[in-house]
Amino acid sequence: MRTDPNIPDPDGFYEALLDTHAGLSIEESHALNARLVLLLANQIGDAAVLRACLAAARASAGQNRDTASRDTQNRETAR
């Protein structure tokens, strides 16, 4: 699983992700996210990477904010 920056134009992507959900109810957004996960998983197509992503996503659930914001700062300085 790669964790180094790989998304071109991060802010542009983030905006596009939010726009994709614009105007949807929370139920519709959950459904959209589920479809998105499946579509993206098929782009990855590598069992080991998929498992690592599932584990990483699960591990972050409920983790405190400090770690998350520190990561963001690190990424800022790296750029």
């Binding site: 959950h30 459904a31 589920a34 479809r35 996960v37 499946l38 579509l39 098929n42």
Partner: protein
């Protein structure tokens, strides 16, 4: 030999009833010890009896009932997989199954009028048998009984109920009840094929770790006239079943098996009431179609798995050892394959050609197969009955994407059809082999023809290497030294070996110099490149749990 004097008419079927005969032990005869006593005359026990009879092994089969199937026209299993059909070919009942049953290979997942996903198992199949035949379970059992009687080596005892088994180091003693009273019978080996509620297993105190599924289903077996293809159709969210799942499949005699998923808390008595079942069928088939209900049966799933399929002198096959939910038709098919796996091992042990430790490999191979089947069927169960709101959301995403995107169709899981298990971790293998070899066409016949006959023999398929002219005689000598193997020259001729040609050869990947060692159950024990007699003997020794130097002195 017991005859069948009567018939029962039920649900439009005309089924045999077998005569109870006072057992010799209750007719003044001595208490005898038999090499094998099989308990239970369902799919698994009858397959075991038929397999042993084909190998020339005498056995007693005890069944508490006096007919095939479950009384009342219910067929539990309907789909018989290629591997089972190959076994039935070797046992001599395949033709009857094919003539009576419905051969199919196409399955579809349907949404409304639209096909979301379809598969065809026929292309890529190398076997002389089709991917699947649908037929009522009791017909298969009936054909097995007929064949067992024809072979004349099995003492079939109807209305003989086993109440207990006790065992010592050398043999086991079974307590049996009959209409004429109780008696005891001794056996070198007991095969427990009494199904889900095995009294033998429970009497020995062996746990099964059962789990009950919450999901409820209701089967309707029904005759109707409406032109439909002989395909397996499944719905995940059928509009005519309150957006729950449905399976629809044809079996013999023009009877369709339609299986409806019920609401989670449905009352089994209510959902199977005639009017309720008929209303469901009416909604499904439309207002014009005439139908006749053959059988309605509600059920829920359970799984269980024994820790060890062998306990001393007792070997557990079929539902006695493992139970899985019926998705993909894995239950009965794996019981048939248990019997197939055990038969040759028992035969070789009884004939003194292999040590008793060979029987431990039955557990080493069939328990992982059962665990795998339980995993596969549980995954289908989870797809069909989402446990949480998020599981439902993810399933909905799969369904929504499936209409447009091919990749998502592979995530639709309405049952993964039964396929033979690869014994890749088996102690009998040389190398990581263990896969089932398809019943390819060879010479005038098929591979399974070479596996017929008394006892149990391996088949060595060798593609001669022209550079080594002396090898054929040396390989032939291995068989002559008493190893249970028949060696064939494939493709090119090589005297003195019998020669085989045929379209199947290419499918087996036999390049010159290579030898495939096929077990009596048609799984692959070894693939030996640059074969020589020493390598063949080593592979045979391993597959028989014998020492390599142990070229046996048995004529």
């Amino acid at each position: 030999m017991t005859g069948s004097s009567a018939r029962v008419q039920t649900g439009g079927y005309d089924l045999p009833v077998y005569d109870y005969v006072r057992p010799p032990e209750l007719a003044g005869g001595p208490r005898r010890r038999y090499p094998v006593v099989i308990v239970g005359g369902g799919l698994s026990g009858l397959t075991a009896a038929c397999d042993l009879a084909c190998r020339g092994i005498e056995a007693v089969l005890l069944d508490e009932d006096d007919t095939i199937g479950v009384r009342g026209a219910s067929s539990r299993g309907i789909c018989y997989a290629q591997k089972s059909l190959e076994i039935f070919d070797r046992l001599g009942i395949y033709q009857r199954i094919r003539d009576k049953g419905i051969t199919w290979s196409v399955g579809k997942v349907v949404e409304g009028e639209e096909v979301l996903y379809s598969f065809d198992l026929a292309p890529g199949s190398a076997s002389a048998q089709p991917p699947f035949i649908n037929i009522q379970q009791f017909y298969v059992e009936w054909f097995l009984v007929d064949r067992i009687r024809e072979l004349g080596r099995t003492d079939l005892r109807w209305k003989n109920r086993v109440t207990a088994v006790r065992q010592g180091a050398e043999h086991a003693v079974l307590s049996v009840e009959t209409p004429d009273g109780a008696y005891e019978i001794e056996a070198d080996w007991v095969v427990d094929a009494t199904g889900l509620a095995s009294p033998i297993r429970d009497g020995l105190g062996l746990p099964t770790h059962p789990e009950r599924g919450e999901d409820r289903w209701c089967i309707s077996d029904v005759r109707f006239r409406k032109p439909l293809p002989t395909e397996r159709w499944t719905w995940v969210e059928a509009p005519f079943n309150e957006n729950r799942a449905v399976w629809q499949h044809l079996m013999a005699d023009g009877v369709w098996r339609i299986d409806y998923q019920m609401a989670p808390n449905a009352d089994p008595a209510e959902v199977s009431r005639t009017e309720v079942a008929e209303a469901r069928l009416r909604a499904h088939l439309g207002p014009e179609v005439e139908f006749e209900v053959v059988w309605v049966g509600p059920y829920s799933y359970r799984t269980h798995l024994m820790d060890d399929f062998r306990c001393g002198r007792v070997l557990f096959i079929g539902d006695a050892a493992h139970v899985m939910s019926p998705f993909g038709a894995r239950g009965g098919n794996s019981g048939i394959q248990d019997a197939d796996n055990l038969g040759w091992k028992l035969a070789l042990v009884l004939r003194g050609e292999a040590p008793e430790s060979l029987l431990d490999s039955f557990d080493a191979e069939r328990r992982p197969a059962a665990a795998h089947n339980i995993k596969v069927t549980s995954r289908t169960g989870r797809f069909l009955a989402p446990r949480t709101e998020m599981e439902r959301i993810i399933r909905k995403a799969v369904l929504d994407l499936s209409t447009e995107h091919p990749f998502a169709r592979l995530l639709l899981n309405t049952g993964r059809m039964s396929a033979p298990f690869r014994y890749d971790a088996s102690p009998l293998n040389t190398g990581a082999e263990g896969e089932a070899v398809p019943n390819v066409r060879l010479g005038e016949g098929v591979l399974s023809d070479l596996l017929r006959g008394e006892g149990a023999a391996f088949v060595a398929l060798w593609a001669p290497d022209p550079a080594q002219p002396g090898l054929a005689a040396a390989l032939q000598a291995v068989a002559e030294r008493g190893w249970p193997v028949r060696v064939f020259a494939c493709g090119a001729e090589a005297q003195p070996l019998p020669h085989l040609s045929g379209s199947g050869m290419g499918l087996l990947g036999l390049t010159p110099g290579t030898l495939l060692l096929v077990r009596p159950d048609q799984h692959l024990a070894a693939r030996i490149r640059d074969a020589d007699p020493a390598a063949l003997e080593a592979a045979l020794a391993r597959a028989l749990c014998r020492a390599p130097s142990d070229a046996l002195a048995r004529a």
